[in-house]
């Protein structure tokens, strides 16, 4: 995976670059999926950050909770009947107290499902080389194109500079020659 990218000092110019790349897209053989934005903090209200805004995390968490609760129901009622022991004059299946276990397992189900959904949908863990630059941690925004067609490189570079880039770089960085 190689890429060409630029660093911008503020989200406004990053948005310009993003728009420019998108408009250029088809003409230069760059499709929308190849445009990558990398930031050190989430940005709200900008279109470059608005992609993938739809998510199913909420209903999935609810589903996870339901599964947890069902497991809790089964765990308590099955185990209480498999080896029935009377305690304190209470019935063998005590719904009031089983409810507490069911409640906790519902919550646990929702938590674990959210965690798993996050890891899967964010693509974590990912140890393959990913487009990034240490400069983003000082607040710069990275906008780039992965695997650009070699013919379009100079054109893309121009567009990136036009939007107000602080620097235009290659990824992976050319190895430092001695």
């Amino acid at each position: 995976m190689n890429a060409i990218y630029a660093l911008y000092s503020d989200p406004g110019s990053a948005q310009n670059a993003f728009d420019a790349l998108r408009r250029a897209g088809a003409a230069l053989g760059v499709d929308a999926g190849k445009i990558v934005v990398v930031t050190s903090e989430p940005f709200e209200g900008y279109e470059f950050a608005a992609e993938h805004a739809k998510t199913h995390m909420f209903p999935l968490a609810a589903l996870g909770g339901l599964m947890g609760g069902s497991f809790g129901y089964w765990l308590t009622s099955f185990t209480q009947t498999s080896y029935p022991l009377t305690t304190g004059g209470m019935p063998i299946i005590t719904s009031w107290t089983n409810g507490i276990i069911i409640y906790e397992l519902t919550m646990l189900g929702a938590i674990l499902t959210t965690l798993i959904t996050l890891l899967i949908s964010a693509g974590l863990p990912n140890f393959k080389p990913a487009l990034s630059d240490p400069e983003i941690w000082t607040g710069k925004i990275l906008v780039g194109v992965t695997d650009p067609p070699p013919a379009a490189r100079t054109e893309l570079e121009a567009k990136l500079r036009q939007a107000g880039a602080l620097a235009v770089k290659e990824f992976p960085p050319p190895s430092a020659a001695a």
Partner: protein, 462 residues
């Protein structure tokens, strides 16, 4: 703006790359207290619970007091960061990681205590619901079984709550580190990149977690309170215990958080980030809970006194004017009489003021738990078998070790991870995006991010 962000980075990452002599001294101190505790624990495992001060009828004392105390402290973080997150209180940003760390560490300590207080601790796994060769499962009617599930769920939830927002900061450290450190942080950061998709998913996950963790936290301390309320012991069988304990937990949790923040502020030189405003706001919360605590305590004691039931009154008078009166009135002073004036008067609600109030409250809340457990057990229904209790050196050492473990975990944590969530702080410093109407651009407002209903930008010229 950029320079500001650079400065933020430097300030908050510095502790990870430097350690002063004072730091190592603190580690050595905490470590030796922990070591003493471990020795005491092994002595207890080898010899038996008899090395404690327990007897018939006082079968629980320091062990359960400390258990409830630490679980109570653990309500600081998650509740604060979850509730403040949902309420869009942006001043919470520098405070959340501190708070979440307290939760996870205090909860871990609290969760270990029931395992250590068992008469036969090597059989602790009887509490785990697994298909055993005895064909027997745990008794799900027992509040201790509920404790197991509740604390486990809360531990998973609060650890997730702590670790998820840490990922971007770990990636930052990864990119700034070299050698082995870079490799380790690389693993820990899970290959985080920082695309909008990842950010969005992370923030959504945090939002869901904030919603889910609040009922879990409430249920945890309610269930802990039911360790007492589900028995017929005088002054334990009280329906108010659920809310009473939750209130007390949040109360002691906020106090612990203020203490931790004050310590970190001094030792990590975070004066620019943990401002008097943060302490003042937490102080207001603390005031609310002090009043709430007093209300619950008064309500419980009034109904007991009014009911005049013989067994309950024996316990009641032992705390109001009997053997436990000095401890009881000290508790009221520490939890209410001292903190309320300090926290209510704006001039006194400074960093020093809130720290003084919080120190009083942490001690006072420990006393409250002790005064719930021991007086009731000393005076149960049959006077012939009333008893008394005095702690031994083993129990005191174990209790000190609990604090030592907390200090040690915190010290180590502060060197591994920035104590303030850098990306969250940066988000707070962001300017809202400029609004565009047609081709004209309206100047960006500098209202803090997180205000709902920000404008969505569309490109008018596409």
């Amino acid at each position: 703006m950029k320079q500001n962000e650079e400065q933020v980075q430097q300030d908050l990452l510095r502790p990870l790359f430097e350690a002063s002599a004072a730091y190592w001294l603190a580690v050595a101190l905490a470590g030796s207290v922990v070591l003493a505790g471990v020795c005491a624990l092994f002595y207890q495992f080898y010899t038996g619970i008899g090395v404690w001060g327990l007897n018939s009828p006082v079968f629980w004392a320091f062990d359960i007091t400390n258990f409830v105390f630490w679980i109570g402290i653990s309500h600081a973080g998650t509740l604060i960061s979850a509730i403040l997150r949902l309420a869009n209180a942006t001043w919470r940003r520098p405070v959340t990681r501190c708070a979440e760390a307290i939760t996870v560490f205090a909860l871990s300590i609290g969760a270990l205590i029931p395992l250590c207080h068992l008469g036969r601790p090597w059989l602790f796994y009887y509490l785990i619901p697994y298909p055993s060769e005895r064909q027997l499962w745990p008794n799900f009617r027992s509040p201790l079984a509920w404790d197991f599930f509740a604390i486990f769920t809360y531990l998973v939830g609060s650890t997730t709550f702590l670790l998820l927002p840490m990922i971007p900061d770990l990636a930052m450290v990864r990119d700034r580190a070299t050698g082995l450190r870079r490799k380790l942080y690389g693993w820990a950061a899970l290959g985080w990149q920082g695309t909008p998709r990842q950010w969005h998913r992370l923030e959504t996950a945090m939002h869901i977690m904030a919603i889910v963790i609040i009922p879990v936290a409430v249920s945890v301390h309610t269930i802990v309170s039911w360790d007492f309320a589900m028995t017929p012991v005088p002054m334990w069988r009280s329906t108010i215990f659920g809310p009473y304990f939750v209130c007390g937990a949040i109360f002691s949790g906020i106090a612990a958080l203020i203490l931790a923040m004050a310590l970190l502020r001094k030792s990590l030189r975070l004066e620019e980030y943990l401002k008097p405003m943060h302490f003042s706001n937490l102080g207001k919360l603390l005031l609310t809970f002090s009043l709430l605590w007093f209300y619950f305590t008064f309500a419980e004691r009034l109904t007991t006194w009014y009911g005049n039931e013989e067994a309950e009154m024996a316990v009641f008078w032992s705390t109001i004017r009997g053997d436990f009166a000095p401890l009881f009135w000290t508790m009221v002073t520490l939890n209410f009489l001292i903190p309320v004036p300090i926290l209510a008067i704006k001039k006194l609600r400074t960093i020093t003021g809130t720290v003084v109030a919080s120190s009083c409250i942490v001690v006072g809340m420990w006393l409250e738990r002790f005064l719930i457990v021991v007086p009731s057990l000393q005076r149960k229904f049959l006077p012939y078998s009333w008893g008394s209790y005095r702690p031994t050196w083993v129990e005191i050492t174990l209790m000190a070790a609990g604090f030592g473990v907390m200090a040690l975990l915190y010290l180590v944590f502060s060197k591994l991870v920035p104590m303030i969530a850098i990306w969250e702080l940066k988000v707070g410093m962001q300017e809202a995006p400029a609004a565009k109407f047609g081709d004209a651009a309206v100047a960006a407002s500098s209202r803090p991010r997180g205000t709902p209903g920000g404008p969505v930008i569309t490109d008018a010229s596409s």
